[in-house]
Symmetry: C2
């Protein structure tokens, strides 16, 4: 089969012939139609992940055919019996197991779900990892309710955009932040009640005067801005964090959270039930994932470059040759 292979950390991805996957016990082989990138994939090529072994086919997101059935893949493998926490055996498709940047992928049959019928192959491939993460952050951890004011930071990212779309579907009044005026404008077009550019040093005050306080904040940045997010929290609000791209929060003060009864909730990926519920929400509400751009599998290196530059609004998708 054709595949995009990371032969060595720090090396460019190699497109070419690769042996077909051999399914293990309980596994099936899916013929992929499309795959999608996540930051995780880029971090792995840069050697920023633990446990990297090469050569490896990356890719956590995929959609395709299983004996003619149209399916999407749940990349959250072996979550285990406790809905609150992944088991020790837990792993994400695409490391250490070979992933979706190839014509075929072998994975446990438990990871196979029907593709929502209203989605194109590209949209379906865009959904799994980011949609699952957003669903758990917003519903399980965030407990979003209709009419709540919700703030989503860094709205260009895959998870942030799904959290934004799902929060709108849940009837929330959703505000966003971004470093790009263009992304803010696109979010407003999609239904954001408002948005602010975090490159403005007064972004917190601007947002506070525009929107007031938030019952729920979904963040993947951390850093200095995290303190501003805490200030923007309404009493008893929840701040759900699934990333720390801006690094450490300097001088985090317990006083900022205990009197206001705030909760800071860490979240990552999601369990099987959440994956099924997420697909149901997308189907019921006819939500279309935002596809930023589409590359062929052969153009994979260019797709990685676009993600690394952070210019995307939505998911970067790879079309897989038949």
């Amino acid at each position: 089969m054709q595949a995009l292979v990371l032969r060595e950390k720090g090396q460019p991805l190699h497109y070419g012939e690769w042996p077909d996957p051999e399914p293990g016990s309980g596994e099936v082989v899916v013929e992929l139609k499309a795959a999608a990138l996540n930051h995780r994939d880029v971090f792995i090529t840069q050697g920023l992940y633990p446990g990297i072994e090469t050569p490896i086919i990356l890719g956590s997101d995929g959609a395709g055919l299983l004996n003619g059935r149209e399916v999407v893949l749940n990349p959250s493998i072996g979550w285990g019996p406790d809905p609150d926490i992944q088991a020790r055996s837990y792993r994400i498709l695409g490391l250490p197991d070979p992933g979706t940047f190839a014509q075929k992928v072998a994975l446990p049959e438990t990871q196979i779900y029907d593709k929502p019928a209203h989605l194109s192959w590209e949209e379906a491939a865009a959904l799994p990892l980011a949609g699952l993460t957003a669903y758990r952050a917003l519903f399980t951890k965030g407990q979003v309710e209709p009419g709540q004011k919700v703030l989503i930071s860094g709205v260009g990212g895959g998870v942030a955009l799904f959290a934004f779309q799902f929060a709108l579907a849940a009837g929330a009044e959703v505000y966003v932040t971004s470093g790009s005026e263009e992304k803010l404008a696109r979010a407003r077009d999609m239904g954001a009640a408002g948005g602010v550019n975090y490159k403005n040093p007064d972004w917190g005050k601007v947002l506070q005067s525009e929107a007031g306080a938030f019952q729920l904040v979904i963040d993947s940045a951390g850093g200095e801005g995290f303190k501003t997010l805490l200030k923007l929290c309404a009493p008893a609000a929840r701040l759900v964090t699934y990333g720390g791209t801006q690094g450490a929060v300097p001088k985090f003060l317990p006083q900022h959270i205990f009197w206001k009864q705030l909760s800071i909730l860490g979240t990552s990926m999601g369990n099987d039930r959440e994956f099924a519920d997420m697909l149901k929400l997308v189907a019921d509400r006819q939500i279309h994932p935002v596809v930023d751009s589409t590359y062929t599998l052969e153009q994979g290196a260019a797709a990685f470059e676009r993600m690394d530059q952070g210019l995307q609004f939505g998911k970067i998708v790879l079309q897989i040759p038949g």
Copy 2:
């Protein structure tokens, strides 16, 4: 009546004659038998609280007689209809309303509860503010369950000791930290599974090798040690914070909480239901609050000095002359 009065911030407390309280609408006057100190009282005398107006009678904790009925006072006034968050009108007995360091106190009838029969006046006075805070931290926020490993930091303090006793009553395996070997020994005598002195620079490693990881941590310190507490958390654990006596947490990393699905939950005081449930737990399990020392109301200044020095193990109580 006789009262202990803060006439001006930074001044010593003055013991002497003071006008009897005038009950407002819906209020009753309780003849106090005993009162107890909280850090809040000391912080107020030091001018470290917002909204201090003098002269004022301090004191949030009290027990006494209402027309011959033995009662304890709920210092959490006007919580309001939302169990998750105190209303804007919320206030704690003892500022701005005159408090319990006097022979009589006027307060809303809603704040009156029957004294648990097995408690002395001194024990009953020791219970309200710290018991309520500990109850909400441990049960409502911490969701403690039998068999869980629970860590309580700074076990000499009033809230920490109640959290410790309540966690034992809930069937948890409880570990403690303290800066005092004597306090650690006393906690072990009371049923702690283990304890560690946080003055040992390796206290986190010592505790980890002794106890493993914790499903629930209750902290009032913050500071550098908070990061060690996060490391000691088991996956999906809850870290409940009700104070920040050690100041800011330097370089708090979102990465430390999202992959492990940790929750950091701020809490302060508690609602009416929690106060009633706390009294029921104390009565049902025949829990005796730990009284560190007893002073007469006239010796109030010495009691404040003991609390300021942090030497106490349990509550510092004032006996009120009849």
